[in-house]
Amino acid sequence: MVKVTVKFFAVGRDITGSDELMLELPEGTTAGEVLIQVKQRYPAFEKVAALLVAVNLDYADTATVLYDGDELAVIPPVSGG
């Protein structure tokens, strides 16, 4: 198993009610699979436009395999500036 920290921001934090959660996942789990789990657990994410994921501070493809200690962030549409 691998331990991954999942971080939420902005509308994502409002939906989940927390900044982050820890997941224990089978070896080989991808970023996209985590995103699917998150959407199943919190259906309100389906209403959010174009969610991206970042792994260890870089935008990542959903096929990115996660390793022990990785930090995955759920990135809702950005609106800085």
């Binding site: 990135i75 950005v78 800085g80």
Partner: protein, 144 residues
């Protein structure tokens, strides 16, 4: 090359000091300094904005800002220095949310590089704004 060699980037919950930002990028070989200042506007999509609340994923936003600085240096090698500051927290109408300053020997590249910096920061840096209206609030761009 590291972004630290020529760039100063910051995410802060303190008011942005534009004069200090200019001091960060001033260079004796540079005659041009372009600055972009993004301020809190009192309306959005026809609604009156009371204030804004900015949130960042600070570690990643800073990493993106450093990457933008490196991209700029490779696209426009004549850029001497660049500084980008983005504010977080609650901001009143008219307060500065973001400020970017770039110095170059001549003005044309300063404008171009500054424009590229703000456009790229807005589209890639993990920073979010919540628009607070008289009758509710919304995370900008969150919903399709």
């Amino acid at each position: 090359m590291s972004a630290d060699d020529f760039a100063f980037n910051l995410i802060t919950d303190r008011p942005i000091d534009v004069q200090a930002l200019i001091g960060r990028v001033a260079a004796p070989e540079c005659g041009g300094l372009a600055i972009f200042i993004g301020m809190v506007r009192n309306h959005s999509k026809g609604r009156t904005v009371r204030h804004l609340e900015y949130e960042a994923y600070p570690e990643m936003a800073l990493k993106k800002m450093n990457e933008i600085a490196l991209e700029i240096k490779s696209k426009w090698p004549e850029v001497s220095k660049i500084a980008m500051i983005h504010r977080t927290g609650k901001l009143a109408i008219g307060e500065i949310a973001v400020a970017i300053a770039v110095t170059t020997p001549h003005r044309a590249e300063a404008f171009t590089a500054c424009r590229y910096a703000i456009d790229t920061l807005k589209s890639t840096a993990p920073i979010w704004k919540k628009e607070v209206f008289e009758d509710g609030d919304v995370w900008a761009s969150a919903h399709a």
